[in-house]
Amino acid sequence: MAFAAWAVLIMLFLFFPIVIIMLYAFNPSNVQSWPLSGLSTRWFSSTWHNTEVRQALWLSVRAGLLATAIAMILGTMAAFAVDRFRFFGREAVSLVLVLPIALPGIITGMALNSFISFNSLTFSLLTIVIGHATFCIVTVYNNVLARLRRTQSSLMEASMDLGADGWQTFRFVTLPMIATALVAGGLLAFALSFDEIVVTTFTAGAQNTLPIWVFAHIRNGQQLPQVNVVVLFVILVSLIPVALAQRLTRDTGMLRSGARTPAAGAAPAIGAGSAP
C-alpha cells in the first residue's frame, strides 16, 4: 500500500505541473494567476495568426520530417548491418549510435556548432536537420533491430530460395515484417526532434524552431498567453507519436493490413488476433 501511495505521489509530482501548464492555455486573462478566472480559447486564434509562431512551427515541422527521414534510412541500414553481418567494430556501431542520446545535448550542440563555424558553413535548415538526425537515428535503429532479431531468418532465406533477389526480398518480405517497427521508430524520432532545444540552439543560428521561440519568450516574459498555447501544442505533438508508436509495437507488431477476421473454425494462435 505504501508503495502504491508513493507511486501515485511521484506520478502527481511529475505530471501535475504539465496539466497546469496545459490549463493555462485556456486562461482568458493575459496575467498568469491561480485560480483561472475562466476558460477561453481566445489566445488560440491570436497565436495562430502570429507570423513568428507560424514560421517557427513550419521550421520545426520541416526539420522534424527531414531528420526523421534521414533517421529512418540510416537507422534501418545500420540495424540490418548489425543484425545480418559479423564484422570488425560491430559492437562499436551500437555504442556510437546510442551515444548522442547519452551525451549531454550541450556537448553534441557545441561540437556541431564549432564544426559548422570552423568550416564556415551557414546555419540553415540543413544544420538543424543534421543536429537532430544524430539523436533520431537511434530510435529507428533500436526498434528495427529488435524486430529483426524477432523475425525468423528463414523467411529471408525462403524468399531467396523461391527466386527473389536481394531487393525483391527486401520489398516483399523484409519491409512488411519491419514496417511497424520502422514507423514506430520514425514517430519517436519526430517527437524527439519536435521538442528538442539544446542541440537546436547551437545549430539553428538566428532561426527559431517552436521550442526555441517558447524559450525566448518565457525569458523575456512577453506574449505569455501565446507561449502557453504553443506549449500545449508542443506537448500534444510530442505525446501523440509516442502513444502511436507504443500501439504499433505492442502485440506481434505485425501490420494487419487486409487481415480479415479469422474464418469460423480456424482458431488463431496465441498472441494473434488480439488487436482491433
Binding site: 528463414s154 530460395d161 501490420l255 479469422p262 488463431p268
Partner: protein, 363 residues
Amino acid sequence: MVSSSGTSVAVPSPRPSTAERAAEGPAVRLNEVRKVYGDVVAVDRLSLEVVAGEFFTMLGPSGSGKTTTLRVIAGFELPDSGTVELHGSDVTRSPPYERPVNTVFQDYALFPHMNVLDNVAYGLRVKGIGKRERRQRASEALEMVRLPGVEGRRPIQLSGGQRQRVALARAIVNRPRVLLLDEPLGALDLKLRQAMQLELKSIQRELSERITFVYVTHDQDAALTMSDRIAVFSDGRLEQVGTPGEIYESPVNEFVAGFVGTSNLIQRDGRCYTVRPEKIRLLGEAEADSADAAGIVREVAYLGSVTRYVVELESGETLVVVRQNLDMSASSAMQQRGRRVRLAWREEDESELDINKQEERNP
C-alpha cells in the same frame, strides 16, 4: 531442360531418355565439399551424387553435417572448398535465387503477412508471371498436396500439418529440378508424421519425372519408408550410401548398424558381425537343431504386435531378439524371462562390419 510450359495441355512432358540424363549428369553432384565453422568441421570433403528423379535421403544424428550439406546445395552456405553441380552445371558460386532448387524448411518459413495463395504464388510472382497464371498454378499445387480451399487463410490460421503442405506447395509450384526438404515432418506428431511420409512418397512418385527429392532427417523410419537411396552421415562424413535394404541388411560399420535399427554385435574369430533382431529365431532349450548360441532371457518387453527379448549369451554378449506375437500372448511372453533358450539365424543374415574403419574413427 524438360519442357513444362503452362500452355501445352494434352501433351505430357516427354521423359528424358536414359542417355539424355546421363549426358546431363546427376541431379546433384557434390565434389569434395568442405565447410568449417570456426573450429568445427561441419562437412569434411564430402562427395556424393544424386540420380535424377530419385528420392534421396541424407540421414544422420544432429551435428552430422546433413543440414549443412543441404544448405550448401541450396546456396545458403558457400563451401570453403569443393564444388556443387546441379544437372551438370557448376553452381558453387551462384546465389540461391539463381539455382533451380527449392527448399521446404524445417520451420516452414511461411510468410506470415501473406495469405496461403500469395505464399504459394510467391516464387511465380518474383519471376514476373501474370496474376491469372499464378492463381491457377498455385491452386493446382495446393491440390497436389491435398490442401485445396484454404487460399484466403493466413499461415497462423493453419494447423501444423496444413502449414507443412503449404510449404511443400510453395516449393513445387516453381517446378524445381531438385526439391530440398529439411526435416519437414519433424514438428508433427507421430500419427500425422507417418501419414505424411506416405503421402510425400506418393507425391514424389507423381513428380519424379521432373523433380528429384533430397530429404534430410534424423528419423530412420522416415528414411526407410520413403527413400530410394539413403546416405548415412556422421561427423561431417558419409558412412554409407545405399538402398534402404542395403543400409539395413548390410551396414558397413557399427555406426550405420547402430543408427539404423537395433543392431546386435557378435565378435567371432577376431571379426565383428551384426544380425538384426528380427532375423534371430528363439528356440527352446530342447529344440536344438543347429543353434548358433545359447543363453538366458534377461529382459522381456511386450510391444503389442511384437515382443523384444534381451538374451545374455554364455559368451557374455547380449543380443536383442524381436519376435512377432504370432501365437504368443502377453502373459506367456512375460513368462519367458529367466528361461534358458537357444538362438539361431541364417548365415546370410550376418553382416560383417569393417572394424578397422571403426577403430580409426573412435580412437
